[in-house]
Point group: C2
Chain length 613, copies 2
């Protein structure tokens, strides 16, 4: 236990080092760091249990800076803890340095990238859920939150989820320094406002002077002693605390101090205190013994919706792998994640209609090494797009499943139709985008997803479609399937999911007219099977027809045409995609209305052939 003087010195060191690193970088957020110096000093000195020499230790506490812009403070802590040198700390924001502008897992002690506000706490909820329900270890999750980010709805999704789950291993620390980037927050220093909100969501709340180390220490002790509910420590602080030139002043956000030397002197000079952060008691995570599930296999020619195959495949995967967990956004009877829940209820998490928290909880669980599959309607993954973007920066390994893709869902109408999901999820760095058309390929792809690095996305279809492939056929990510071909094909048709079946029907019709279609199942939209695509278009005189239940932008058509151009292939292409906002109607009517059904494919193929004969 540190004395008040020790804690004061440590806090001042954290401030000085925040000023120094920002001065070295000539940018950064020193004032946002200085307000929280005591909050972090007391935590690290007296409460955090973390083995910096073994960040992979499952018993470690977790410390997440939801206010990622306070990175100078985090790095100052790492220096104090002996994890990085002073020299490395001062490479802040330099090219090639892992001491980045906002924290990323380039550093082994950083669980997830932050810097998009409102994400650290929801992700911490996922880590805390893993602690309670998966690892079953007594580690604690500590989250430093900014007061500005309390305006993000995702923070309240986190408050509700944590309260609902009674996550007493989670402590949120709100650094209420009153000032945002360009002025005061909505609540200013009204700590009671935060308190009443937190309590209304089922949290234990403590108001505290964030610069009174003894009070902060008592609050953390109270948080550790509180059972059955999470605790929030609401700390009144002053931005830029300790340096008169910036303390509690506007227009001092996100920049180095004008006179760093004077500020360092005012703070008592450079120190080199080393802090021996307490290590956790040893502990091993719980290991699950999965219920047995027979392998899933469908008969060729039978009909099954790929969303149903997803659920059954996931249940089987959960039997084969104890690290697989599933989360759903209150639509598990639509996505069929309920099939996983039925056999592995202790690894299923109902996240209700809170898609940001759904993604964030999954990100938090993969921090602890689990392989989460998170599902909802594909359209509603758009609600968590920023979380998916950030998960990629976090180098998270995360599988997403979006059901009810495209106009083929029918009567529910456009609000429920994902028509931009392929575009938006292709544009996530390092992502994998899969879109199977039958049950057996779905089963194989779901199993592969559990080993993919980064963000993988499976798009499933609402309606039942015929099973095309034998259950023992293998599929690889980055592959494709030639579903129909002959030696004298005229046109390559690239389709996936629902439109593959339309393409096959069109091929059947056109065969009677002497027109032969080569039909490619592009189940792997990213990465693409460029060799297979080149071979197909080479065999059909460069004639290409793409058809997708998606807007024309950023989907299968653009991906295929561009990949072929990159490979030096000139094509004569017709791209069929959804051209206008659909209304309600039956699936077949809407496919026809969008010009992506078999009849439209036939017309387009005839036109393409007549103009390129």
């Amino acid at each position: 236990m540190k004395t008040p003087d020790d804690l004061h010195e440590l806090a001042q060191q954290l401030r000085v080092d925040s000023v120094r690193s920002a001065a070295a970088a000539k940018s950064g957020h020193p004032t946002s760091s200085m307000s929280a110096a005591e909050l972090i000093a007391v935590l690290a000195a007296n409460h955090l249990r973390y083995d910096f020499s073994a960040p992979e230790n499952p018993a470690n506490d977790h410390l997440i800076f939801s206010k990622g812009h306070a990175s100078p403070l985090l790095y100052a802590l790492y220096k104090a803890a002996g994890a990085i040198t002073d020299d490395e700390m001062l490479t802040f924001r330099q090219l090639g340095s892992r001491i980045e502008g906002h924290p990323t897992p380039a550093l082994p002690w950083v669980d997830v990238a932050t810097g998009s506000l409102g994400q650290g706490l929801p992700i911490a909820v996922g880590v805390a859920m893993a602690g309670h329900h998966l690892d079953r270890l007594p580690y604690r999750v500590w989250v430093l939150c900014g007061d500005s980010e309390m305006a993000e709805g995702s923070m309240w999704e986190a408050f509700e989820a944590a309260g609902f789950h009674g996550l007493d291993n989670l402590t949120a620390i709100i650094d209420v320094n009153r000032l945002g980037q360009r002025g005061e927050t909505m609540s200013g220093w009204d700590l009671a406002a935060y308190r009443s909100r937190a309590e209304a969501f089922g949290w234990h709340a403590i108001e505290v002077d964030g610069h009174d180390s003894a009070a902060v220490d008592a609050a953390y002790r109270e948080a550790r002693d509180t059972t059955g509910k999470p605790t929030v420590v609401i700390a009144r602080t002053r931005k830029g605390k300790g340096v008169k030139a910036v303390e509690d002043l506007p227009d001092k956000h996100g920049k180095a101090l004008d006179d760093a030397e004077a500020a360092i002197a005012e703070l008592g000079g450079v120190r080199s205190i080393t802090l021996d952060v307490a290590r956790p008691a040893t502990g091993e995570p719980h290991s699950f013994t999965p219920a047995a599930v027979p392998p899933v296999a469908y008969e060729v020619g039978s009909k099954v919706a790929t969303r149903k195959a997803y659920g059954q495949a996931l249940a089987a995967l959960g039997a084969a792998r104890a690290d697989v967990v599933a989360l759903d956004g209150e639509v598990s009877n639509s996505t069929h994640a309920e099939d996983f829940k039925a056999v592995h209820p202790d690894r299923f998490f109902e996240m209700y209609i809170a898609e940001q928290q759904l993604i964030a909880a999954a990100v938090g669980m993969q921090v602890r090494g689990y392989r989460p599959f998170a599902s909802t309607f594909a359209a509603f993954l758009s609600r968590g797009y920023d979380f998916i973007r950030m998960a990629a920066i976090s180098r998270a390994n995360l599988s997403l499943c979006g059901s009810h893709a495209g106009v083929s869902i029918g009567e529910d109408g456009p609000s429920q139709m994902a028509l931009e999901d392929i575009a938006s999820l292709r544009a996530v760095h390092g992502s994998t985008v899969l879109y199977p058309s039958d049950g057996n390929s779905t089963v194989k792809l779901v199993a592969l997803m559990a080993d993919l690095p980064g963000i993988s996305y499976l798009r499933t279809t609402r309606g039942a479609t015929p099973v095309l492939y034998p259950a023992d056929e293998e599929f690889r990510v980055g592959g494709s399937r030639l579903v129909r071909s002959s030696d004298d094909d005229h046109i390559t048709v690239v389709a996936a999911g629902i439109t593959l079946h339309e393409a096959l029907a069109a091929a059947e019709t056109l065969a009677g007219e002497g027109v032969s279609l080569r039909v490619v199942d592009l189940y792997s939209v990213k990465p693409l099977d460029i060799d297979g695509l080149c071979a197909a278009v080479d065999a059909t005189g460069g004639r290409l027809l793409t058809v997708e239940d998606h807007w024309p932008e950023g989907g299968i058509g653009e991906a295929v045409v561009t990949a072929l151009a990159d490979a030096g292939r000139a094509v004569r292409v017709t791209r069929l995609a959804v051209p206008a906002i659909p209304g309600s109607g039956q699936p077949a009517e809407l496919l026809a209305g969008a010009g992506i059904d078999a009849e439209a494919i036939c017309s387009a193929a005839r036109n393409l052939l007549s103009t390129t004969a």
Copy 2:
């Protein structure tokens, strides 16, 4: 004023008609409609002020079904109000009918499309803000919310914004029927939980039995009488109320009743009550007299950041047009929306760090005919992606500006860099995507945005770049500019924003080597100037080089290559884009690291020429 018997009959008619339309469609959400029948009957009979014959009347109240799946109830109300016939009501969910599965503005009384839960209330906040601050009319905004959607963080963004702004013209009605799609909500019938949360966010809250018409009536009266804060009516209801086969039972969500005839009989049979909804008192919206702002013009060769030009252009636009309003997500000193605020403070709205509410408020204001410009860092528009998607379905006219695009922002690192914004916003139906490279073209494009239908997006750059075009030069949406060309160009380089300047530098370097680049400024990424692009690649032997500060997927490269393929042009293309997650660094270092700077363009051009000579 209706008698209790009248109200009961009306509520039963709404239930019966909800059952009938779902029965006709063989799908839909009758049980979610039946729980709210009294809530809507009492509202329409005694409190709503709406002229169904003149939906454009500015004095009309607004009624938004945030729980859009209760559309059968809304349509039943429209029938009762004489706005649609019984026959049209029964075309529910049929192809071509405007009685869609979820409400859309295909109907003139529907302000915005709903069906993605958690959006109606935030949008209503925008309408209510327009009522208070822009129109200055006494209309009220009534919102029917589901209890399941209270899990969406966006609802709490709305609660906070409405409480902060003291929107006493806004009433939220929560239909607490306890049951979501697949089970009970987190709070079930714990009305006090909702009450304490709402109160903590500054609302007046009333708990009520949602099937007691007199109590509901009194609650609405209290809401109308409450000043200085919004009111939430928290109504305990039973899903499927009135029909034993479904009432308060699980697994009855989102489907027609098994025995509609029996249900109708149990509800007392078909009725044809016509309700004369009260019309509003006449009223005209406030008209603003804008402060004068001199036109913005930059000298060619001077340097200005396009984000700064955005702010100045918007200020000038606000002077020319009283209908233009601006909203920002607590970064107006970065996006430079503060320049608008400085001269038009009464048309500027600080939405704090709540990007969903930022977009939603803008959507709400355009409901009332204003032309909102909403800005934040481009990366953080991803937080509101589902709101943008739905705004397109709402046929909203909405301008977005995202600053700090790409790696060229420098030291802040990847969390702050938009690298997927072009892809995601191109994939919004009917959208326009603009990406100017200099100050004067920015000014022209901002002015054009105010007349564009649908969602328009302007991507701006953090750093200052040289002004390329004279201030009197005109720019059109769907155009491009040939910035550098000669009769013997070897390669067409397509660039925009920051990379255009890199391309020009590369052209200068290569000119010394006898390699001539034709440089196209693709300031209009969607729609594309396909004629201009064809002419350019035709003039350079099909050699094309695209370069963008964006991921390779869905951006400028894919858009250009695909458009050229659609137009029958075969190209030899090299696409330069950001290949890996950047770290921190100086802008020039990061552009070089990503291989999208002048030197990388030179290398790629030399390679392209040597392989295609």
